[in-house]
């Protein structure tokens, strides 16, 4: 019956998990894409001067007279960037030939290379040999050990000699730039993730707020703090709230009907039983003894089942509360008449608007029995006090005291025992205290006995209530 929580994730968890599932990959891809674009444009800017250098070299190269040995070449002018002149400046150009062993032998080179050569990967040579590709962007290690980005073009000179022309530059700075950008992008995305997650969490909470409110309201109804699931709900929840109200009403109806049936049956039997008992009492014979015995058994059964039916229905009705004033004052008025010979002086003090969170019938039974009991034993004064308990939210005490003989402390336990009667002299149905205690316990309260300020017995009952 009970709904289990925990086996499946909560709505909040589900919604947030769903959001994370699409958001994190999306943001990661965004960060990667941004970095890639930045890298492309950085390299494009980086490659421009190298491109120019190669173009310059191609424009400036001369093969000279045919008489000269093949492979001889001159440059009419060199690329002008002064960094090509400074040794190991990190910016180089070179015109060279590949040897059969894959090494590149410089024919002409910038002064910055200081006579060193650059080691290129074999793939470049293979591609050039097979004439599959004539332009390359590749990496190499510079003369100073620095990583270089190399632009390389394979050129056939007018004298049919094949050379490669390359320009290279230290790649560390743009790499640093790109790395910095990537970190920035990732950092930014993480921040966005955090912000979006917080926003989603807030939005989910906000979106689900009516559900939380509804849940709270239902709990309030069950505890009798309110009578109905009221308030305004979104169109998705309004039908649910209506259904709940219908269910609450239905529950009240069912309990009430069941109780009415039992009660009608029991009360319907009481008159015939009274007749049988009276008749048997009046005509003493063998038959009347049997009738009397059986009728008494039936009476006990009726009382027992009536009590059971009342007890079974107790606490079943949700969302009812009863005004203390409207219950206790009529009871006092009635008891004053029942015990008019005693001229009972009732001292009632009940906070204005105090409500018992339970059924009127139960409160009447409870307060009625306590007050009746006090009236039975009192000389003339009965006090009925009610007040909310400080610090114990939702409970109040009902204290009924009298100025009668009271009970000794060692009699308290006996007084609360079912069926016990401490004094047979005062007519009535015994103490009624066990019934009151059962009732209080059914409402999660309790009952304590003590000595009243008036001198007699004091009964303190703790009950759920609200002001």
């Amino acid at each position: 019956m009970a709904a289990k929580a925990g086996d499946i994730p909560s709505l909040v968890t589900r919604l947030i998990r769903g959001a994370v599932l699409w958001m994190l990959p999306a943001l990661a891809i965004t960060a990667m894409a941004l970095t890639w674009f930045y890298q492309q444009s950085t390299y494009k800017l980086f490659d421009d001067p190298l491109e120019n250098a190669i173009t310059d070299l191609i424009a400036a190269v001369e093969t000279g007279e045919a008489a000269l040995p093949p492979g001889t070449l001159f440059l009419t002018r060199e690329p002008i960037d002064p960094r090509y002149q400074r040794a190991l400046s990190g910016r180089y150009w070179m015109i060279g030939r590949f040897q059969a062993d894959g090494s590149l032998v410089p024919v002409r080179a910038s002064r910055s290379l200081s006579g060193e050569t650059l080691n290129l990967s074999d793939a470049v040579k293979v591609a050039i040999d097979n004439q599959t590709k004539s332009e390359f962007r590749t990496r190499a290690q510079g003369p100073d050990g620095e990583p270089l980005r190399v632009l390389l073009r394979s050129v056939i000179l007018p004298n049919d000699a094949s050379v490669v022309m390359l320009a290279a530059a230290d790649i560390r700075e743009p790499q640093r730039d790109i790395r910095r950008f990537a970190m920035l992008a990732v950092g930014l995305m993480l921040m966005i993730s955090a912000a979006v997650l917080a926003a989603i969490y807030w939005q989910v909470r906000l979106g689900l707020q009516p559900i939380f409110e509804l849940r709270q309201k239902v709990a309030d109804v069950r505890e009798g703090k309110v009578e109905k699931v009221d308030g305004i709900y979104p169109s998705e929840l309004a039908p649910l709230a209506d259904e709940l109200n219908t269910l609450i009403d239905h529950n009240k109806d069912v309990v009430e009907r069941a109780r009415t049936h039992v009660s009608n049956l029991a009360h319907g039997l009481k008159t015939p039983l009274a007749v049988l008992l009276n008749e048997a009492e009046m005509s003493k014979s063998g038959l009347s003894d049997v009738v009397e015995r059986q009728a008494k058994t039936m009476k006990r059964q009726v009382d027992h089942h009536l009590q059971r039916a009342r007890a079974a229905a107790r606490g079943q009705v949700v969302g009812v509360s009863t005004s203390m004033d409207e219950t206790v004052i009529p009871l006092a008025r009635t008891l004053e008449r029942i015990y008019r010979d005693k001229d009972i002086d009732f001292d009632l003090s009940i906070p204005d608007g105090l409500m018992f969170r339970g059924e009127k019938r139960d409160l009447e039974e409870l307060a009625g029995n306590l007050m009746d009991n006090a009236c039975k034993w009192t000389k003339s004064r009965v006090s009925v006090h009610a007040q909310m308990i400080d610090g114990d939210d939702g409970f109040f005490t009902l204290t009924v005291g009298d100025d009668g003989p009271g009970l000794a402390e060692d009699q308290y336990e006996e007084a609360l025992k079912r069926g016990a009667r401490l004094d047979e002299a005062t007519p009535g149905t015994g103490f009624g205290l066990p019934i009151v205690e059962d009732l209080a316990k059914a409402y999660k309260g309790d009952l304590k006995l003590g000595r009243s300020e008036l001198g007699g017995l004091e009964v303190v009952v703790k009950l759920p209530g609200r002001l």
């Binding site: 009360h267 319907g268 009481k270 008159t271 015939p272 039983l273 009274a274 007749v275 008992l277 009276n278 008749e279 009492e281 009046m282 009728a295 009476k299 009529p330 009871l331 008025r333 009635t334 008449r337 029942i338 008019r340 010979d341 009127k360 019938r361 009447e364 039974e365 009625g368 007519p427």
Partner: protein, 226 residues
């Protein structure tokens, strides 16, 4: 003392009326709210036993109507309903006592006596007037400690006069309070009963006030006054 029983269960009604008659009361019976209300409205009863679940008009409404019409006779509610809310509404409607079924005859009779006693302003069941003791509880009477045998009509007459001792009671009032509805009311019979009663308890205990009625008196006091 004349009592009205409004109860729809014929057996219970019969038992009640028998028990009450045995105790020395004049008893009228109604088996529905309408008749009950009419009888209470037109006849001067000394007490009423009223069931709540009645046909035609329910008991609470009957009681409310009586009280609205200024009827002050004591009313004892006899019902199967034992909830406090029902007791409250019964007393609020003007009931003087409330007894739940099933019940003991003794308890019902004791409560009825208490109601009538209270209505007449007495504190005990037995009333004493100068050596004459009327015990309403046991329906017996003593003169100077000696028990006197009375018929039920004689006792009713004496009991009514004792309850209203010191007051002059008209013949009509006596007729209304000691006979039930079905009795043939020939006012002569009152004089017959008074005569018999005087022979049994002493002539000077019942004073005839010419043109007004009878009065139960303490003969010694009356003698002293003269």
């Amino acid at each position: 003392m004349r009592i009205l029983v409004v109860e729809d269960d014929p057996d219970l009604s019969r038992q009640l009326s028998e028990a009450l008659k045995d105790t020395g009361y004049a008893v009228d019976v109604a088996d529905n709210g309408e008749d009950g209300h009419f009888m209470g409205d037109t006849e001067p009863y000394d007490a009423v036993i009223l069931d709540l679940g009645l046909p035609v008009i329910d008991g609470i409404s009957v009681l409310q109507k009586w009280r609205a019409d200024g009827k002050t006779f004591p009313v004892l509610i006899l019902t199967a309903r034992d909830q406090w809310s029902e007791k409250v509404s019964g007393f609020d409607a003007g009931a003087d006592d409330y007894l739940t079924k099933p019940f003991h005859h003794e308890e019902l009779l004791a409560r009825l006596r208490a109601l009538m006693r209270r209505a007449a302003g007495h504190t005990t069941d037995s009333i004493e007037i100068g050596g004459l003791m009327v015990d309403n509880r046991a329906a017996r009477c003593f003169v100077d400690g000696m028990p006197i045998k009375l018929t039920s009509h004689e006792f009713r007459l004496l009991s009514y006069m004792a309850t209203h001792k010191g007051r002059v009671i008209s013949r009509t009032e006596l007729v209304e309070h000691i006979y039930d509805q079905d009795f043939d009311r020939d006012s002569n019979t009152i004089e017959v009963f008074v005569g018999r009663l005087r022979r049994k308890i002493g002539t000077d205990r019942i004073e005839t006030v010419r043109g007004l009625g009878y009065r139960l008196i303490d003969p010694d006091n009356a003698a002293a006054k003269k």
